[in-house]
């Protein structure tokens, strides 16, 4: 499974506008492909709830918020970059720049876990992270991701 399969055209954001955790998450959930969600409000609640249990800011400027909901019909992802950084309660107490949201239907664990694993693996690369932050617009972000995917086939 590649990341491009989960992302779609609209769900890549080069410049997030949110100024705090909640706004960022709202923005990310809004960007999920409309075909994959049946109720955005409920899905946002699930993601926020999950975030409250344990922060998904895993450090190194990365956060991977995720949630499972019955109002999600298909696995969906959103990649968002905030060049200025945001406080996301990260493990290393540093600001977070790169956000990958993953929403998944209920009772499905296999593909969900695989996707999270792949995201994590790709984001380990420091060069990749820098390129992502430096990308100016959606197209260059997508190109950057596709390039990196080739190295992790």
């Amino acid at each position: 499974m590649t990341l491009m399969e989960i992302l779609s055209g609209r769900s890549v954001i080069a410049g997030l506008r949110g100024r705090n955790k909640r706004e960022i998450l709202e923005e990310l959930v809004d960007a999920v492909d409309g075909d994959k969600i049946t109720d955005r409000g409920k899905v946002l609640d699930a993601v926020l709830l999950r975030e409250e249990i344990m922060s998904t800011g895993i450090g190194h400027g990365i956060a991977i918020p995720h949630g499972k909901s019955e109002y999600v019909s298909e696995l969906g992802g959103v990649l968002g970059i905030k060049r200025e950084g945001v406080d996301f309660d990260a493990l290393d107490d540093q600001p977070t720049f790169i956000f990958f949201l993953l929403v998944s239907p209920m009772d499905v664990s296999g593909p969900h876990i695989k996707a999270l694993a792949r995201i994590s693996r790709l984001l380990k690369g420091e060069a990749f992270r820098r390129h992502l932050i430096e990308s100016e617009d959606r197209e260059s972000l997508i190109a950057c991701v596709e390039e990196e995917e080739k190295h992790h086939s």
Partner: protein, 605 residues
């Protein structure tokens, strides 16, 4: 090394057992693998069966002479004739009741039963019991065959020898197959069919490991039998040929008829058995075959050829020497008399009657066809040959064995094309009407539901509560992956239920799902139990059957499943594991089969 406490098959004191154990332990010195030893034993079994079948034939002839030649002469009045099969049936009934209950009935089903539920254990006394019970049944005019008995006797011999040498369960089954194939091989002079029968019907699978010893036993048995009884072609048939290709269509028609008739025979046989068993009229078990015999005897007064094994009639039908009305009458009466003999619990095989009915059916069809249907050039005897194969296959659901046995018995290969075709079609037709074969139906009726060699009915009767573990390791839903990995390291289970902070069931964490992420260190901080859990497809409760649980295990490929409270699916009663389920199944088999404990293979130094 401790003395093997397995009970001896000889009813003798411990000294003998200890002595024998020393002998058994002598063999491993030669560093023989159990397989090599097996092949050596297969020779012994083959020779034993060959000799045994000669003895059995002698016994049969002796009883026959006594009851059907001397006795009627003494009786004089032919209306007293039914007494003779009644006496034969009585003897068979008494033997089955008081000496060995396995001796009742056809025999092949008992062998299958021993393999599937009794770990390959057939008591030595079955050899004696079956020989005498069958000799009395057949020798007094009972309508059955001698093949089933010889198969069971051969199988008993194989099992006895195997247990004498402390073979493992798997090899014991192979030795049984050796005995069965040797029996058929000797009686019919059909070594190939003997091998196929064992592999196709008794063992139910063709593995190379089983093939070699079974072939050896079969050949040795045929050799011994040939030495005593000379070169025999069981049936001499004219050199029928398949000349007019259009006749294939008519052979197909015959196949359909044979399929229907075969299924009808199976139904009638068991309907008669039901008549004698379930609406028993309070009759004691040993009396039933006597009653059956008496009824058969009455048929015999009117139509003597419907009695006994019937090889002469088969031979005549194969030569096209019997007229249509007679053929029809014989077919119907044989159906009735066989059902009465075997259904009432006397001892005899179903093969010879099937040959009889197949030959008369085929012959009748051939005669009809010659008169009424266009393009028929083959004599009715050819149809009789094909009819035999088709009918036998329709009852046994073993087309390969049936075709080959007929070819071997008649020596006629030229009809192989319509014969094989008709045989296979007849099986298809028969299965449409009755899914079970004549043997498996018997087992099915006893409550055995055989699914891939495992007895599902055992599991259907056991509830999940038997194996549920009320104490188990669980994971709270917000537990981070890091701690889950620790738990897996400490626990001896692989899958865990996930609960909320009130202890309510939320889902399962399956090891094979999280295997990938377990080693991703970054994920340890990212994921919690809730993120990685899944749900089992259907809820198991304490009252669910182990059969349902087994299905769940197969579907999810899990090692552990949750058991939830009835009506309250969020409450966990406990968990069950796959290994506990299988252990429970084995234990139950031991209890039900009253089988002897496992025998160990001779140990290597």
């Amino acid at each position: 090394m401790d003395v093997d406490p397995a009970p001896s098959i000889l009813t003798s004191p411990n000294a003998t057992t200890r002595f024998w154990n020393r002998i058994v332990r002598f063999f491993p010195r030669f560093n023989l693998s159990e397989q090599t030893f097996l092949i050596g034993l297969s020779i012994l079994i083959g020779v034993g069966c060959g000799a045994g079948s000669v003895l059995f034939q002698w016994l049969l002839d002796a009883v026959h002479g006594l009851l059907l030649v001397d006795a009627p002469a003494l009786l004089g009045n032919s209306f007293l004739f039914p007494l003779i099969p009644a006496v034969g049936g009585l003897a068979a009934g008494l033997i089955a009741c008081f000496y060995a209950v396995e001796a009742r009935g056809p025999g092949v089903a008992e062998v299958m039963n021993a393999i599937i539920t009794r770990r390959g254990v057939i008591r030595a006394r079955v050899m004696v019991a079956k020989a005498f019970a069958s000799a009395f049944t057949l020798g007094s005019g009972g309508s059955a065959g001698s093949e089933g008995p010889i198969i069971q006797i051969g199988a008993a011999w194989g099992s006895t020898v195997g247990r004498l040498f402390r073979f493992s369960e798997a090899n014991l089954k192979t030795l049984i197959a050796c005995g069965a194939s040797a029996g058929i091989s000797a009686i019919f002079n059909a070594p190939i069919a003997g091998v196929l029968f064992s592999l196709e019907i008794i063992l139910g699978d063709f593995t190379i490991a089983a093939f070699t010893p079974v072939v050896i036993a079969s050949v040795m048995s045929a050799v011994v039998a040939k030495a005593y009884m000379g070169e025999r072609q069981v049936f001499e048939v004219p050199d029928y040929q398949f000349v007019n290709l259009h006749e294939l269509g008519w052979y197909v028609f015959l196949a359909v008829l044979a399929g229907v008739a075969g299924a009808a025979f199976i139904r009638m046989l068991y309907a008669t058995e039901d008549l004698f068993n379930r609406r028993a009229y309070g009759m004691p078990a040993w009396l039933k075959p006597a009653v059956g015999g008496a009824l058969v005897g009455m048929i015999g007064i009117g139509c003597p050829p419907a009695l006994g094994v019937g090889y002469e009639i088969i031979g005549a039908a194969l030569h096209g020497q019997i007229l249509l009305p007679t053929l029809g009458l014989l077919l119907g009466l044989k159906l009735l008399s066989t059902s009465l003999t075997v259904g009432s619990g006397a001892s005899g095989g179903l093969f010879a009657p099937s040959l009889f009915m197949g030959a008369t059916l085929g012959g009748a069809f051939g005669r009809l066809a010659a008169t009424w249907l266009p393009g028929v050039v083959s004599p009715s005897g050819a149809y009789a040959v094909v009819g035999m194969s088709a009918f036998v296959a329709a009852t046994t659901h073993a087309p390969l064995t049936s075709s080959l046995i007929i070819v071997e018995m008649t020596g006629n290969y030229r009809l192989i094309l319509p014969l094989m075709f008709a045989t296979v079609l007849a099986v298809v037709m028969a299965r449409v009407i009755e899914r079970e074969s004549i043997y498996s139906l018997k087992l099915r009726r006893r409550g055995l539901n055989i699914h891939q060699g495992r007895d599902l009915s055992v599991l259907e009767k056991l509830p999940v509560s038997r194996i549920v573990r009320p104490d188990f390791d669980f994971i709270r839903e917000h537990t981070p992956l890091r701690e889950i990995v620790d738990l897996i390291g400490r626990s001896n289970l692989n899958d865990f239920p996930v609960v909320d902070d009130k202890g309510g069931f939320k889902g399962m964490i399956w090891f094979h799902d999280i295997r990938e992420v377990m080693l991703e260190y970054d994920m340890h901080a990212l994921l919690i139990a809730e993120d990685v859990m899944g749900k089992p497809p259907a809820a198991l409760e304490l009252s669910s059957s182990l059969a349902d649980a087994l299905v769940q295990f197969s579907n999810t490929d899990a090692d552990t499943l949750p058991v939830l409270r009835t009506g309250s699916p969020a409450e966990l009663e406990g968990i069950i594991t796959r290994s506990d389920l299988l252990r429970s199944y084995e234990r139950e088999l031991l209890i039900r089969g009253r089988a002897e404990p496992r025998h160990r293979a001779p140990r290597r130094r």
